[in-house]
Symmetry: C2
Subunit: 326 residues, 2 copies
């Protein structure tokens, strides 16, 4: 594929990473269509065509992807914790429709599928930190297993039908357009609670280390992966260093100039103690680096959250929160 500006359809284009990606694509002059069930940040998506549909509805997906060069697959219907509570449902709602998507891409002549996999879960308890793409993939949560299975089906479709693909194993993304209420990310949740002066339940003692990467940097990595001509298929995308949950809390308290109301809860079995990915391959092959310093990214995230603080309240109850690793 030698197109400099491929037309792009973003499955999950109304979501957190999807909105960031669509904005970046539109800004750089790509034809962009966003596909999803909801478009909560419609104002942020000027210049982006919206195509409403359900990922489980094959006909709807087929109609959405027709004639586009690149399909970004950013949809995962379940969060890590929910996946573990209904493992079969996780397979039904994510693996099966992803296979259906690949069948439709093959039929439609899609040039490439770029898939958002999970840097925080596919490796499980990695022995090597930062973890390279060649490390063993032994997930300890169902979410990681279904992400990994979808990666394998992508490789199968390339092997069998020549359907191009790239996989980005994204660490913990944070930034504008991340919902504070869906426990999508610890940073968004902490900022949201701080803005509303609500208490935060944190599972574990705060020593868990995560790898936070700014969402606009993730969008740039996805765009680089769409046209990359190298031989690699799988890339870690992370922030380049690990930060403990305690460090994150301190950074947010410092940036916002207020104390968080923390409630400590027992750790969960699905949380690995340390998750930091090596981004050496992405730097070498995609010429991508996590360009946004953490402090700047955090500031911009707080500014966005403050500006959109017309968020509905949680009703007073403290919301459960953990350093969700995706």
């Amino acid at each position: 594929m030698t197109l400099r500006k491929p037309s792009c359809v973003v499955l999950g284009g109304g979501g957190f990473i999807g909105t960031n990606l669509c904005r970046r694509l539109a800004d750089s002059g790509h034809r962009v269509r966003a596909f999803g069930r909801r478009q909560p940040f419609a104002d942020g998506l000027s210049g982006v065509e919206w195509h409403a549909g359900d990922f489980n509805d094959t006909a709807s997906v087929a109609a959405a992807i027709e004639s586009f060069d690149v399909v970004f697959h950013l949809i995962h219907a379940t969060m890590p914790q929910a996946a573990d509570l209904d493992i079969q449902g996780d397979v039904r709602n994510n693996v099966l429709p992803s296979i259906a998507l690949l069948e439709q891409c093959h039929r439609a002549g899609t040039k490439r599928v770029v898939f958002a996999s999970s840097g925080g879960t596919v490796y499980g308890n990695a022995r090597q930190i930062p973890t390279p793409e060649t490390a063993p993939t032994d997930p300890i949560c169902a979410y990681g297993i279904s992400k990994l299975a979808i990666e394998k089906y992508l490789a199968l479709f390339e092997h069998r039908f020549g359907l191009g693909f790239r996989v980005l194993r994204i660490a913990n993304p944070y930034g504008p357009f991340q919902f504070a209420l869906k426990n999508q990310g610890v940073i968004a949740a902490l900022i949201g609670r701080a803005l509303r002066d609500e208490p935060v339940e944190i599972w574990g003692d705060g020593s868990v280390v995560r790898d936070f990467v700014f969402a606009e940097d993730v969008a740039d990595a996805l765009i680089a992966a769409a046209t990359d001509q190298g031989d690699e298929r799988v890339f870690n995308i992370g922030g380049g260093q690990g930060r403990s949950l305690r460090d994150i809390v301190a950074a947010i308290e410092h940036a916002m100039g207020k104390r968080l109301r923390l409630e400590w809860k027992p750790a969960r079995a699905l949380d690995v103690p340390v998750s930091v990915v090596s981004v050496e391959r992405a730097a070498r092959v995609l010429h991508w680096v996590p360009a946004t310093p953490f402090e700047s990214g955090l500031e911009r995230t707080i500014a966005w959250a403050t500006a959109t603080a017309a968020l509905p309240a949680t009703g007073g109850a403290s919301v459960r929160l953990s350093p969700e690793t995706r």
Copy 2:
């Protein structure tokens, strides 16, 4: 688990490996129940309790496994080629009911699940031959992906609930009780055609190398895995060396004293050129070796096929045959 003679239920106990395993277990004094849809070799299963049921029927599986110490999971509803033609069906009929099985095992207090995975497909085009368990797992067929996914769910259930497990990645098994008509194995198929003087379609030029292991040796490995107390979970089970399809044809022609009627067809994308697994780990940890020399195994397989030659004819049409790798 320190039981010397655990009670065992064999899912797929009426099939090829299952029948061999049940016989071996019964001979060595274990309480054995076989579970499956059909029991084609009922005569071979004296001393084995038969429990008819469908793997897709969770209640039926739950009833079958209750109170047994060890569950051998030998069921895969689809053959490699069929899996590739209906990838979603392969997931629905194998991955989903396997997750349901693990949920039932957790509920029933099963001590260990021993799973028959696939030495010939989970690695894909392996760079290292013979392939160790630590090699990358990049299947090039859907069958290999679903086997791999089930392996990962086993590890998840151990991590989360303490449900014990062992995975045997079995190469190409051959021996008595393998159907000649289901394209289950190239050796059974070749012998069957030879006995009926039927032509054989072979996909590829006969240079593909496979790793044949005698079914009774496989049964011994499964039994060893049921009580192993080591730290490893995944074991390759193979014959210790590779043989080309041409070599297999020559060995069968020599042993049977007749020429096979071969029809050569183009190779298929799902067949890797070479598949040979390293059995060093099984030797070291399970104290298992592929004890049966190939010539003896072949002789016993031919003797069994000849004795059961009351097999129905295929109707004159030549049956498609490939070196199915499982």
